[in-house]
Amino acid sequence: MRLILSCLFFSIISISLFGQVPNSSANTDSTEQRIVEPERPKVPKSFFIPTGLRIGTDLVALGVNAFGDNRQRYEFQADVDFHRIYLIGSYGVNQYQTSGEEFEYTNNGNYFRIGLEADFLKFDPDHNTLTFGLRYARANYSESLTTDILSPIYGPYQENLNNEAVSARWFEMTTGLRVMVLKNLYMGYTFRIQLNRRIFNATEFRSYDIPGFGRAEFKNRWTFNYYLTYRIPWKEKNVMERSR
């Protein structure tokens, strides 16, 4: 419901924002001479040939591994350019464990994301990017829960519960920045809004943690990654020339 409302809300805003385009003919005087805009130069097809592969890892995950006690996560990401569109994918492995007074929980699994990103920066030959993107993400994992609870009326009891082959999927809207810090070495962040999470095959207990997503109780959430990537080029990037 919240998602539907938000979709309606941003649709209204988008329409009102982008409805104010100058080529609307409703208010033009019929005597006014129409100004013919110069035709935009077409992007040559050769620009869409990929020029390199960028691979990297998530530094946030490495930081959590180093300074946290509960989670071990490694994530690798790769992207390839098709002019100003990037095909991007990431793969990660995740181990998580936590415990409380009356339980122990462990989670082991992997996840991937795949999607496209559109680059805002038109004229940058160095592959610095400011992007907006969409992703499909999926996680496969197993989790176990051991409880040791004392009921004040019925006494103590223990349970060992296992969700053996759980999967989850969600969608992501992202925005990110990559900046070349050394030749072919890039750093930058990705801010993700993760949406419409669904869990499959959690049979014995309610899933608690999803690799690559986080707490399973949320259907929508946001997260942040900081990547260090290296670009393996095989072709110079062609960029459109500025008109002025």
Binding site: R2, L3, L5, S6, F9, F10, I13, S14, L17, F18, R84, T98, S99, G100, E101, E102, F103, Y105, A118, F120, F132, L145, T147, I149, S151, I153, Y154, G155, Y157, E159, L161, M173, T174, T175, I193, Q194, L195, E204, F205, R206, Y208, E217, F218, K219, N220, R221, W222
Partner: protein, 164 residues
């Protein structure tokens, strides 16, 4: 292309606001008890509240006794289900006034259900949910399961016991 990117950014910003869900606290809506109300039918076959005095209510699964020589007449009460097993049995010994006379009864209910565990958080511990409650055996005159969901937010009783 720019238009798509701009629209995408607007979508991202607005959706981001709605994606910020509030973190949960320890207040679970799930409860571990069944709520009962005792009713009977009047001459027009309409349901009316029936007051009952429980001499004792207990379960063979625990040493605890839920009611013992209670002198009050009541028409609603609640009993805890066992989280140890997937069934709980209760024995009721009670009395009702019938035309000025006190009549004693003894009845039994055995509930079956499924338990679903959920880790709330390391701080809040385990949250157990009882779902699909049903009666495997019962000796009351009549009984209706009004609601098989055990939640704090449900106002209606889970079980209506008909006593004639």
């Amino acid at each position: 292309m720019e238009s798509i990117i701009k629209k995408g950014l607007v979508i991202l910003l607005i959706t981001g606001i709605f994606a910020c869900e509030v973190d949960s606290n320890c207040g679970s809506v799930n409860v571990d008890y069944v709520t009962f109300s005792t009713v009977t039918l009047n001459a027009n076959l309409e349901e009316i509240t029936k007051n009952v005095r429980f001499d004792s209510v207990f379960s063979p699964q625990t040493d605890s006794i839920f009611a013992y020589q209670d002198s009050n007449f009541i028409s609603s009460f609640r009993l805890p289900l066992s989280p140890v097993e997937n069934q709980t049995e209760f024995f009721f010994y009670y009395s009702v006034n019938v035309a000025g006379d006190t009549v004693n009864y003894g009845d039994t209910i055995r509930f079956t259900y499924e338990k679903r565990n959920r880790v709330d958080s390391p701080e809040c511990g385990i949250d157990m949910e009882f779902v699909g409650m049903d009666t495997a055996y019962q000796t009351f005159d009549s009984l209706i399961i009004v609601n098989d969901t055990l939640k704090r937010t449900v106002n209606a009783p889970n079980i209506k016991l008909f006593i004639f």
